[in-house]
Amino acid sequence: MSDEVAGRASKRDRPWVFRTYSGHTSARASNELYRKNLAKGQTGLSVAFDLPTQTGYDSDHPLARGEVGKVGVPISHLEDMCALFESIPLERMNTSMTINATAAWLLALYVAAAEHQGADARLLQGTTQNDIVKEYLSRGTYVFPPEPSLRLISDMVAYTVDAIPKWNPINVCSYHLQEAGATPVQEIAYAMATAIAVLDAVRARRDVPKEKIPSVVSRISFFLNAGIRFIEETCKCRAMAELWDEITRERYGVEDPKARLFRYGVQVNSLGLTEAQPENNVIRIVLEALGVTLSKRARCRALQLPAWNEALGLPRPFDQQWSLRIQQILAYETDLLEYADLFDGSPVVAAKVAELKESARNELDKVLGMGGAIAAVENAYMKQRLVEAHTARVRAIETGKLPIVGVNVYQEHEPSPLLAGSQSILTVDESAEREQIERLRAFRAKRNAKDVEVALRNLRDAAANRTNVMPASIGAAHSGVTTGEWADTLRALFGEYRAPTGVTGVRVAEGEASSAATDRARAHVRRVSAQLGRPLKILVGKPGLDGHSNGAEQIAVKARDVGMEVVYEGIRLTPAEIVQSARDEGVHVIGLSILSGSHGVLVIDVMERLRKAGLGHLPVVVGGIIPDSDAERLRAAGVRRVYTPKDFDLARIMEEIAELVAESPAAA
């Protein structure tokens, strides 16, 4: 190595932490994947949990059917957690866990697993996502009502600040807001509002003395999105860093500038990744990664890049490796890490940052004026703004105002060799669920029932008496309590919650609502309605535990805009509930949306139940991330249409739905 090269290397900044959001099938399979990824140069872990784990159900719960091991790893008890990190020394690992409603429990299991390894819990490093507000707004894996949820979060903050001082107890997420359609201003404002809700709750606790607040503030981290408008994204990150510095000083009196640092991790945008010509997504991912690494002053601390083909199904290890290599090339080959901030002194960037900050301040003040983030969840204010923003985006794609290469422009293309072969996505083995349930039952059989009973009583007492639930939860983890038992105990005490859907109050601007295609669909719906004797009525809902409701919401809003009467049922429906709704509501057609890959089991279950209820004549359409082979199976089971992300023309979808109804017995 020449001296010059060596000199450059020594001046380089340390790179951010490289992670890949991953986990599937079982703890053992995920452990293997993690070890392989670490061997390839990944420097931190990012655990994806399956939906039953995220929503507090054991793998053998009826609601878990079809979901076990699908979008992440199933963790039902301590043995699962120990298996997940086997031969990975947790004392030296930096682990990010995407877990929210049940975050206190998964952290408890993590601590217990570390103690099993003989590690010192005080040395653990990592992050629990734990942002419940964005679950209500976008991601949908909430369980409890806002107030007890906020209390669980503040319990974790109060606990970790002493017991696991290097842990980030909450990762305030603007990521999912952008996925739900948020503008940069909304992203900034609502994330800040969420952070304020949490800090206000912690500050109000008697067990957190005033002098602890700076340490608490310094452990609040953020999780951002980065879209394709990467210059604006750079400015957004800088604006958030400045705002956070101001808010923590003004509102919480934090004097130490280091405690006011805006620390954040990133997963770049999935919303903009296309199913059409998916190889182009690699380029999008690279540019988006630049948006959050270019500016040293506002560079992310950790980065996760999605796989190029995730709009098609679950990525394979090869696909994830490709994304990891992007990070490594950016950090190790380019000269990105050799310079001071590139944008300091740029009047263009300064002006954009100032503009974003001012608009975000105004929006933040509006939310605070309503009583803060929780109030603005309950009155559906934030949700409505997001659905509106997303509707505007979808309309812009439909009308071609927002060009997306390969989707609404430049659609002609050569066949992609990357998509050849049936193994171009990962499929979770159907036996995974059965095996996980067998392990769970064996675990239940061998644990000490008395210990479990005592542990659950302690948990209930702590939760009821407003004592911190963390020690009782760690105790419960060691005693062999399961995920479902932990969550059920708190469900009995706190109750369950349904967040407002935000679709009913959505306003669509005249110009955006009207286009030739939409007008045509509207006329078609009117004709079919006359044929039916009443307006065409559609049921839109999401079976299963998946809470990503953005797609279903857009379908619901569009259906209303073409003149349908829409029963919007929201998320987490059982097949039995869907069938009961379809009958009670007298709908003409059913639209189901699924993103978790559990469409096989759930949709086919709905179809069977409809037939049994004498409703087999109702046309059913399904939308979601559905690989071709699965679409074939769904059609064979009687599903009339299958829509995937490449079907961006909602007006056309509406016309097709109207046509299906016109052909159905109801119109005879």
């Binding site: 679709v503 959505v506 004797g533 009443r534 209303r560 003149g563 009467e565 004498g614």
Partner: protein, 322 residues
């Protein structure tokens, strides 16, 4: 119809579809079915309760709590929820079902969403017929609508008991007092009582407003003002008890019959007006004339009257001008 009276859920749903069918020929069949249902029904039938209030007051969650309470005592419910339609597109988003989750897979709870369509208020054309259908098959009938001022009075004509849901700190109270709306409801509920002082203050304002108003005290019923919380369950059993008490009072004072008769009158007038316009109803000497005819035909059902009087108008319209 037998299936309906035997509380067959499929029959309930089919009947609700049929009464909403605007195809020529279907309307008359629907009116005949409804007339037959009313004849078969024994007075007074299940309690009919309206739940109204401003958007965001928590009507649906309150209803959800009521569902739980009534189901716990083994009673069944039929619910109609009305949402506005878009004036521009004719479409509607019906999102209340999502918040009345307790009945989502319970055969003892039937939930039908309706779009108000071209009607501005909180009532759809199919709402009253819907109430008749549900009354044939369930122990209680609830109608949930958004309160936009006028709709309180509209709903009041098709239920026995109207519950008005207010939320703490809402600025709409004064408006409603001015509009005289506070004179209509039979039970007032201040939801979100868990908010504490703000809820108590709103209840106080309501009490003051009611004291000033010119309530018809001849009925012998003083509308209670209840502090409840759908969230933590406070006051829900008291609310259900108030619904039962109002029903007992209506029966013992004999006002229930008068109230239903008044509702029938309004329904027949409005339906004819909507179907034939003022030109058509003038042929029956306008609303006063129709009211007279309704009162004369005490034993006929509202639907049979719509059918019979409608035919009269059609016949008159067919006659050549002199």
């Amino acid at each position: 119809m037998e299936r309906l009276l035997a509380r067959d859920r499929d029959a309930v749903s089919e009947a609700l579809n049929r009464i909403d069918d605007a195809r020529p020929g279907q309307r008359e069949k629907a009116l005949e079915l409804l007339g037959a249902l009313e004849r078969a029904a024994r007075f007074p039938g299940p309690p009919r309760v309206g739940v109204t209030g401003a958007p965001g007051a928590g009507k649906s969650s309150l209803l959800d709590a009521i569902v739980r309470t009534l189901r716990a005592s083994g009673e069944t419910l039929g619910i109609v929820a009305v949402d506005p339609s878009s004036r521009r597109t004719g479409g509607a988003l019906l999102g209340d079902r999502i918040r009345v989750r307790s009945g989502a897979s319970d055969p003892g709870v039937f939930f039908r969403s309706m779009a108000a369509r071209e009607r501005l208020g909180g009532v759809a054309d199919a709402t009253r017929p819907g109430v008749t259908v549900l009354a044939a098959a369930f122990d209680w009938v609830f109608v949930e609508t958004v309160g936009v001022g006028q709709s309180e009075t509209d709903v009041a004509t098709l239920v026995d008991t109207l519950v008005y849901v207010a939320q703490p700190g809402a600025g709409d109270l004064l408006q409603f007092m001015k509009a005289g709306i506070l004179e209509v409801p039979d039970v007032f509920v201040v939801n979100k009582a868990d908010l504490g002082a703000a809820a108590a203050r709103t209840a106080g304002e309501l009490a003051a407003g009611l004291g000033l108003g010119s309530r018809d005290t001849a009925s012998g019923w003083t509308p209670p003002i209840l502090l409840v919380s759908a969230r933590d369950g406070t006051g829900i059993s008291e609310l259900v008890e108030a619904l039962r008490a109002h029903r007992r009072q209506l029966e013992s004072s004999g006002t229930l019959e008068a109230r239903r008769a008044r509702g029938k009158e309004v329904f027949v007038q409005e339906t004819l007006e909507r179907r034939y316009g003022s030109y058509g109803t003038a042929l029956l000497s306008g609303s006063a004339g129709i009211a007279c005819r309704v009162r004369e035909a005490r034993d006929a059902s509202a639907f049979a009257l719509v059918l019979a009087l409608g035919r009269e108008i059609e016949d008159a319209l067919r006659k050549p001008l002199p």
